[in-house]
């Protein structure tokens, strides 16, 4: 399988502590994988480094044929805006904007016009089960609904890779599972690869491939039968 996003020899340290101590990882187009590990194992650092949010101290990251670790911050921002989508633990929605505006925001920032961005946002909100709640603010939505808005936002601009950092961390089990189903469905629909960081083994079990990380190193990688 050809890899869409790959990291080679990734090292990241904070002072004397190593968050990543030489990680190699490949993610194929349309693949869904979970990065699991205990707190402080380096899984979030790996996600941030792969997404270009953090710069690795050593190593190379390639998206398709492009070395993204050598790009400027501006270019990496542009890449994150156009090629990647993000879902964070608590949604990280803009509190002042409505659900519809939150979803439209990445499109607007990418230069789409208002009507197109808003209609795409409405479309995606409907697909994640939030039709009729387009004008609600994040504070007026439940935790699960807010995460579904975040999922719609991450997918609306049709990214190549979606990064989800503990997307169910603030949700109950049932809602968490439903959220992962929604996320995987959305990724499948657009053909995006999905990288989920989680410490929840049940969530990891829902995902075809699991990469376990401990002390900044990959402990093992397993593909579900």
């Amino acid at each position: 399988m050809t890899s869409l996003l790959s990291g080679r020899g990734l090292v990241k340290h904070y002072g004397d502590a190593y968050a990543l101590a030489g990680v190699d990882i490949d993610i194929a187009a349309g693949e869904v994988l979970a990065i699991v590990g205990p707190s402080g194992s380096g899984k979030t650092s790996l996600l941030h480094v792969l997404a270009g949010i953090l710069k690795a101290d050593q190593g190379a990251i390639t998206l398709g044929t492009q070395r993204i670790d050598q790009l400027s911050e501006t270019r990496r921002s542009e890449l994150r805006r156009t090629e990647f989508g993000f879902v964070f633990q608590s949604g990280m929605l803009v509190a002042e904007l409505t659900a519809e505006e939150n979803v439209a925001l990445p499109l607007l920032l990418g230069g789409r016009d208002r009507n197109m961005a808003v209609s795409t946002a409405r479309n995606w909100l409907g697909r994640v089960g939030l039709a009729g709640k387009e004008t609600r603010r994040p504070g007026e939505l439940s935790g699960g609904e807010a995460q579904r808005v975040a999922i719609a936002r991450s997918i609306a601009h049709r990214p190549k890779v979606i990064f989800a950092d503990e997307p169910t961390g603030a949700l109950d089990t049932k809602t968490g599972h439903a959220t992962i189903e929604t996320l995987m469905g959305a990724a499948r629909e657009t053909g995006a690869a999905l990288v989920i960081v989680t410490h929840d083994r049940d969530i990891a079990a829902m995902v075809p491939r699991t990469v376990a990380i401990r002390d900044g190193r990959i402990e093992h990688s397993a593909v579900a039968a």
Partner: protein, 739 residues
């Protein structure tokens, strides 16, 4: 762990609390220092007035020149006059002891009363006199300098003063008798006291806004922390005590710094000229109880405001933890400005009845507070418009933020708004007052006048002309008499002077005919009033007047004044060019023995000094208020980034460029500021017009410069808003890091 220990613990470990505490302390220090300076101004003017009590006569009789004999309490005779050199005022005090007791208990700075023909002078006058020919200055006093006046006898260090000694028979005619030199009581300068009151309002409010902005830096985090404590079982009183301890630490530290830096502010203030000169350092020394009062009241106000701001956490901690939906602002808020304006003008109209400026100052304070009521509503409305018409994400983000939290958004511009209000008010007053300067002056430019009487005037003219000739000047003095006249039903002043002399000595434009004549506003006959004991007579002047429409008076050739008509006064007048002015003055004063010489330039000079004082104080106040306002706006903007650090971080992680967020934040800060500053500019102009109405019935002058504070305010707000870029760059460095 008690509340204070908890506050110290938080301060030691939390960097943002440290920044907030430092800025709060800075705001309190600035507020304390400014209040201490402003409240010291009335004391400073009183200290000045006490030093120069000796320069003003405080007679035992109203006018001894009309009385017979000597008051038994009087020990000396005194006359005070003002003169000028190079446009600087010279105060001249002529004094003649009546008994040896005059030399006892002299005011500070005067070691003795100069003997006849001797004078004491201020150091600045001595230096000026020695630096130019005697004919231009020294000869005016007709006395030999025998010593210097000390600092304690001067209004300000550079004051020009001469204390000239006489015997009673050489004293000028308008002498007064006095018990001792320096009698009487001193009062603070009313204008500066009024300005200090306005200054407290104009500068204290931006200082407190600065404190509020600084404490908002940690507000969101502190609310969460305190709400968590409430949920963990802390009582409202315990939570309140924690906030009081946290804010109290900063406020007390700030007040101490404010008191400590007040001598520096006072020292700086000594360089600011007021009423013609600078100050002595100890003028600004405040009574200790005033210092203690200010140092206590400012921190108490700050702590009180912080505790008041906590009521939401205290009452409903869950709301503070979980967030809440804000209630829309009531449209009733819009009424605040018209109500405050109405109240202000009502107070202005009743100020003459109450004879106190306090109600006007209270109304002014309310007026300045009213934009903070209306501002958030306008901000919210503006946000509503943005959220409807947006095309770019920056406008959408700004609009939603303004709509969602208009109070916070407006708070960023509140300080600038006050500065604009004060500036517009001042810029309405300044040109209007300048327009009043020299209005309808009875004096002609470059002419010196000396009030005399019918008997003495010829001798003064003769002596002055003899001096002028001796100094080699071509100018000559002449008399101008005054009579009361009536033309038709209008009472006018008749100037007894030849037409040729009137063209040179009076502020008139008249075409002279080739024979002695009467010149009047119309050609109808003129009657002259004369008084004979208790009876008043009207006697027609011979001949028909030459009509001269522009004349505001009647000119009568001396040869046409009826023999029975008595003059109500006589001036001796003398033209003086720029080149000859000082020498001509010397000749005039030497000839008159130190009587008061006046000129249009001197009259304008007094007004100009006052206007320059007002302008200087206004500029200092405006700049200070703008700086404080700009600093508040900058802190508020930085605070708004910190409050939303996680959201901005997530947006940046998802690829949102800093410039897009910065544009949104700038729009969020600058747009309400722009609207608010335009409103504040209009309000300031209205108040300026009202205040001008207190001192003049003329129409106020509204210049295009009124736009300057609005532009300045918007610019300060925009510059302050630009601090969002470095704040966002800090977020960008670690967008998903915990706070």
């Amino acid at each position: 762990m008690n509340s204070f220990q908890l506050a110290v613990r938080v301060l030691r470990v939390d960097r943002r609390t440290q920044v907030s505490t430092t800025l709060t302390a800075l705001g309190v220090a600035v507020a304390t220092g400014l209040v201490l300076l402003l409240v010291s101004l009335p004391f400073a003017t009183q200290a000045r007035a006490e030093r120069v009590l000796w320069q003003d006569p405080h007679p035992t009789y109203a006018d001894m020149s009309d009385s017979a004999g000597t008051d038994p309490d009087a020990t000396l005779e005194i006359v005070t006059s003002t003169d000028e050199v190079d446009g600087k005022v010279i105060t001249r005090v002529d004094v003649a002891p009546l008994s040896a007791a005059a030399a006892k208990d002299l005011p500070p700075g005067i070691d003795r009363i100069p003997g006849p023909g001797e004078m004491l002078q201020s150091p600045e006058l001595a230096q000026l006199a020695s630096s130019r020919p005697a004919a231009e200055l020294a000869d005016r006093f007709g006395a030999k300098p025998v010593g210097l006046l000390g600092e304690g006898a001067l209004m300000f260090p550079e004051q020009l003063v001469a204390l000239v000694g006489h015997t009673p028979d050489t004293m000028p005619a308008n002498k007064l008798q006095q018990a001792r030199l320096g009698d009487g009581s001193a009062e603070p300068d009313e204008l500066l006291s009024l300005l200090a009151g306005v200054g407290v309002v104009v500068l204290l409010v931006p200082s407190l806004v600065l404190v509020a902005s600084a404490s908002r830096l940690t507000a969101a985090r502190r609310e969460r922390r305190l709400a968590a404590l409430r949920l963990a079982g802390a009582t409202p009183m315990q939570v309140t005590a924690m906030v009081a301890a946290e804010t109290g630490l900063a406020a007390v530290a700030g007040a101490v710094v404010g008191v400590a830096m007040s001598p520096v502010l006072h020292a700086a203030a000594t360089w600011v000229s007021w009423d013609g000169g600078t100050w002595l350092a100890h003028d600004f020394v405040l009574p200790w109880y005033v210092t203690v009062l200010v140092a206590l009241v400012v921190p108490v106000l700050v702590v009180g405001a912080a505790v008041f701001g906590l009521r939401r956490v205290v009452n409903t901690p869950l709301m503070a933890v979980g967030g809440h939906t804000r209630k829309p602002l009531s449209v009733v808020r819009l009424a605040a400005v018209p109500v405050a304006v109405g109240f202000f003008f009502w107070m202005l109209m009743t100020v003459n009845q109450t004879d106190s400026m306090l109600p006007v100052l209270v109304a002014l304070g309310l007026l300045m507070w009213s934009p903070t009521v209306v501002g958030p509503w306008v901000t919210s409305a503006l946000g509503g418009v943005f959220t409807k018409v947006w095309r770019k994400p920056a406008v959408l983000l700004a609009g939603r933020r303004l709509r969602d939290d208009p109070k916070s958004a407006y708070r960023a511009s509140a300080g600038v708004v006050l500065a604009v209000f004060a500036g517009s008010m001042a810029l309405t007053l300044m040109p209007s007052l300048e327009g009043e300067s020299g209005y309808r002056s009875p004096y002609r430019e470059s002419v010196l006048y000396l009030a005399s009487d019918e008997e003495q005037a010829p001798a003064v003219v003769e002596a002055a002309n003899e001096k002028l000739a001796r100094y080699g000047l071509a100018e000559r003095a002449a008399t101008v008499g005054f009579v009361s006249v009536r033309q038709g039903s209008t009472d006018l002043t008749g100037y007894v002077v030849s037409c040729a002399n009137a063209q040179v000595l009076l502020p008139v434009r008249v075409s002279c005919v080739d024979h002695p004549a009467i010149y009047a506003p119309s050609g109808s006959s003129v009657e002259v009033y004369s008084y004979d004991g208790e009876d008043e007579r009207q006697e027609p002047l011979a001949g028909k007047p030459v009509a001269s429409r522009d004349l505001p008076m009647v000119l009568i050739d001396p040869s046409l004044v009826p023999a029975g008509a008595s003059l109500s006064g006589v001036d001796v007048a003398m033209p003086a060019s720029n080149a000859s002015r000082e020498t001509a003055r010397t000749a005039f004063l030497a000839a008159s023995g130190g009587a008061q010489v006046i000129s249009k330039e001197m009259m304008l000079g007094d007004q100009n000094v006052q206007l320059a004082d007002l302008r200087r104080v206004t500029v200092i106040g405006l700049v200070t208020a703008s700086l404080l306002g700009g600093l508040s706006a900058a802190i508020s903007t930085a605070g708004s980034v910190l409050d939303r650090r996680k959201t901005f971080g997530a947006l940046m992680a998802a690829g949102t460029p800093v410039r897009t967020l910065a544009r949104a934040l700038r729009a969020e800060a600058a747009l309400p500021a722009l609207v608010a500053t335009i409103g504040a500019g209009a309000l300031g102009t209205v108040v300026g017009v009202g205040l001008f109405g207190l001192v003049s019935k003329s129409a106020p002058v509204l210049s295009p410069w009124l736009a300057a504070p609005v532009v300045l305010g918007a610019l300060v707000a925009l510059l302050a808003a630009s601090v969002c870029t470095p704040a966002l760059n800090r977020v960008r460095a670690e967008p998903l890091a915990d706070e």
